[in-house]
Amino acid sequence: MLLTIADLFARFHPILVHFPVGILVLAAGFIWLTNGDKYAQLKPAIQIMLFWGMLSALFSCSSGWLLAASGDYEGDLVDQHRWMGIATAVASGILWWLVRRQPASVVSDASSQPKYWRRGVSAAVLALVTVTGHMGGSLTHGEDYLQEALQAGAGKGPVIAKLENPDTAVLYNGLVQPILEARCYSCHGENKQKGKLRLDDIRYMLKGGEDGVALAPGKPEESGLVGRIQLPIDNKDHMPPREKTQLTADEIKILHWWVATGGSDTARIGHLQQTAEVKALLVRLATGATDAEAGSNSNLPSPEPPAADTAALNALQRAGVTAIPVAQGSNWLTLSFVGAFEKNEVTLALLAPVAKQVLNLRLDHYPLTPKGMDILSACTDIQRLELPYCKLTDALLQKLGAFSKLQSLNLTGNPVTAAGVKNLQSLKALQQLYLYQTGLAGADMRVLQEQWPAVKIDSGGYRLPMLPGDTSEVKVN
């Protein structure tokens, strides 16, 4: 599309408006300042400033008019902004005429009547400039731009709220619209239509903008809406623009799913076909959890346990044990006895008061006894347990059978055998098992892995071949 001179002029509107704002505010300020004698020397400047303020206001109005006509802006706010802008230009013209009629004199001219007129009109100009400027700002940055700054974390955090009744809720109203509203409406909405595109109603999405349709029901690959948000961030067609808040992976998934299932604004979530990925996402939303990416803690098990006793945590710390929340604000704990000053039952017993909060636990070269194992078995919610070189035997291993949520177990360097490890098959949640340097032979490992396909067993004992190059050096011929 060829840009005409008028279009070019129109695009200068956001720059030009700063001149009347600055000049008129200053001129009005001067009028009030020169009320007394103290700043009387400023008087001659007022008329000149008002002239240029008026002129720049006229330019702003005309460029603004052209910009509004370009089609990227529509709605009540645009009209209000337009007429307020014109009112500002007119008022500044009147003020200039009033001032001009009575030439400035550095000497105070007592209490002549027009002075009150001047002050009245200057107050009106000030008010008009403020209101018009605010409206313009709302058009550029979105209507809630100022409120956002005052609200805690607004515009940054996750958009999707907890879904109250996930099956009967309408997908569009419940999940899709809030995302579009937070991330798209400010440029593609009622007041502003960048690229001639509106996203605040399905009708407009189907109609599309300059670059084609935003919504092709059932065809996410043809829908500009879904395509743009999935482009790499450094692509110039990526939306939202790089400097704006980006959609999270979950939000993208929802929009994609919505378009793929027909892009309807009435369909209920329960009636739509759900892929495994979407199902998992909906479960997370139903529990009030948000994005599962790093940068959030949503894949922590819920409900959270009550906060651990501070005195117990301090006691652990004094014994050289690391006992910290898995993430800030969480009550779940990661414990590491690696740096424990005394590696004995007494130190281990310090764990008892916080056992309910333990999610990850690492003991290293820490001789375990039956009593020690009893202390450990109180950690019923533990997910990751690392016990390398802890002198665990088959008999002691039996006590681990109760960890129904254990996902990863590290038994490196313990004299356990196939008979003992076999009993661990009661650990239903187990995904990863480390058995390096245990009493299990290679054949035992293979049998175990076959019986237990859901668990990744790492038997270790990796070797690297000795190659000729490993011990020789290339020399200059």
């Binding site: 790093a294 959030s296 690696v338 490196t412 690297l464 190059g469 290339v474």
Partner: protein
């Protein structure tokens, strides 16, 4: 009055006088003016920025008296520790990871002017010749990753690794490029990544430093110790450089004639004196000093044991290819595993000597570099396998890389023909890889053009790598800040993007 009383009295008097010397009129005026002003500012600014979730999550509760206490990460991190293997001097990706058959066809031809226009090189002048890959490549693993014949061991573990093949930088000299990679700024004065992470997380083992640096290859990295410096963070967070030969830390043994108890008594006395001056001046650096003395004392017991790789069994030594009693990369890599096992947060390795210019045999692609590849290949492979079998790889992020790439052209130092085959510094594209710590296995992100000159897709820079490492450790790199000189500072400055593509 006993002699002891007399000495004490003298000491007290001396301390009083010393203190009076620093109390000047200026001191009084400054204290009162600043004190009142600060009070007023505090109440004025109290409301600013409060309530923002992102701002809050970046704040680290920092106790100057115990700066290394373990702290929770802002978010659930995938990795517990980092081992960063830096090949100082910048290895050539064209001989290791970035397979460019087209470049082989251009070998010996004059470099097309389009590649030279407007470019500045460290040593290339005029029109250099193109230089084909000095290696044969083959595909390995289930991921079918192309790897050079120079890495026979590493090619067996490519399915554990995420390659970033289009890393770029804007620094073509070693020191600034290394600083950029590790501190986020090409100029001196910023804290290194390890300092940021130990500041944010503390150390898991109170007997050991949280951030350990090991160097090999006969030289320090070109940027000097600033690459592991603490910048404006309290100095307690700077990397502790340990030696892989002799005592791990100089003077870690008790001097002759000094018993352990006496040592403890003298450290207690020094700390008491330091505590007094802290009470007087409230300089947090004094508290750092106290805690450093305390840690040094505990390290005397713990460090010699952890730092001694001799207690590892023979087959482990064989796997890493260590050279007992010498200083080499293999020893350091094995030591890195031991440190991570004992709860050290960040182990930074520098191996010097990868600057493949070809102006002498030692840095030529066909002689010196082959020896460097051999010294690195086996031990780094062993590290990945050893971490894996100990269940440590999924919580330890291993990063391997240099500070920039090498030109697809042969270096012609000052316009003359170099005696050996070599490549000049190149900023547009190089390879960095990560393994473990929650990154994808057997994955490649980013691609260079057909001669490995420019990145054509998936380009990333040092800030993105820093953002990714911080992310894996549980930090939002945009919120993780430290206030200095009146504004909050970030490791990634005003840039950086978490490379989500390689996160598992």
């Amino acid at each position: 009055m006993t002699t002891q009383d007399f000495i004490n009295q003298r000491l007290a008097e001396e301390a009083r006088l010393a203190q009076l010397q620093v109390q000047s009129r200026r001191h009084f005026l400054k204290e009162s003016a600043m004190g009142l002003g600060a009070l007023a500012m505090g109440s004025l600014l109290g409301g600013c920025g409060a309530g923002s979730r992102r701002a809050d999550s970046g704040l680290i509760a920092f106790d100057p008296a115990r700066p290394l206490l373990p702290k929770a990460p802002p978010f659930l991190g995938k990795a517990r520790s980092v081992i960063y293997l830096h090949m100082a001097g910048a290895p050539s990706p064209l001989e290791l990871f970035d397979y460019k058959p087209e470049l082989a066809k251009m070998d010996g031809q004059d470099c097309p002017p389009s590649l030279l226009a407007g470019k500045q090189f460290a040593f290339i002048r005029g029109v250099p010749k193109m230089l084909g890959p000095q290696a044969k490549f083959a595909q390995h693993g289930e991921s079918r990753t192309w790897i050079s014949e120079h890495l026979p061991h590493l090619s067996t573990v490519v399915d554990e690794i995420s390659f970033l093949k289009a890393v770029k930088t804007d620094q073509f000299n070693h020191a600034p490029a290394q600083l950029l990679v590790h501190t986020g700024s090409a100029r001196l004065g910023r804290p290194s990544m390890g300092s940021w992470i130990t500041y944010g997380l503390g150390t898991e083992n109170q007997n050991l430093p949280g951030f350990v640096v090991l160097t090999s290859g006969g030289n320090f990295p070109d940027a000097g110790k600033s690459v592991w410096g603490s910048g404006f963070l309290p100095s307690v967070y700077q990397g502790v450089q340990c030696r892989s030969e002799g005592d791990p830390v100089l003077f870690i043994k008790d001097p002759n004639g000094m018993s352990r108890d006496l040592r403890k008594a003298s450290i207690d006395a020094i700390n008491k004196a330091n505590q007094q001056s802290y009470d007087d001046y409230k300089d947090p650096e004094i508290l750092s000093r106290i805690s450093q003395y305390e840690m040094a004392y505990r390290m005397q017991i713990a460090a010699p044991e952890v730092m001694d790789i001799n207690d590892e069994p023979d087959y482990i030594h064989e796997m890493y290819g260590t050279k007992p009693g010498k200083s080499c990369l293999a020893n350091n890599v094995l030591l890195a595993r031991k440190l991570v096992e004992k709860g050290v947060r960040y182990v930074q390795l520098f191996d010097w000597g990868w600057d493949a210019h070809g102006d002498h045999a030692g840095n030529s692609l066909n002689i010196g570099m082959i020896n460097k590849y051999r010294s690195m290949d086996k031990c780094v492979t062993a590290l990945l396998l050893d971490l894996k079998q100990r269940g440590l790889l999924d919580e330890t992020l291993v990063v391997w890389g240099g500070e920039f790439g090498r030109t697809p052209m042969m270096e012609n130092r000052n316009g003359a023909v170099n005696p050996f085959k070599g490549r000049d510094h190149h900023t547009e594209a190089f390879t960095i890889w990560m393994a473990g710590g929650g990154v994808k296995k057997g994955y490649t992100y980013g691609e260079t053009d057909e001669i490995g000159y420019y990145g054509v897709s998936g380009r990333v820079e040092a800030f993105d790598i820093q953002a990714t490492i911080l992310n894996q450790m549980g930090f939002d790199h945009e919120a993780f800040t430290y206030p200095f000189q009146g504004r909050p500072f970030r490791l990634t400055d005003v840039s950086g993007r978490v490379i989500r593509e390689i996160i598992a």
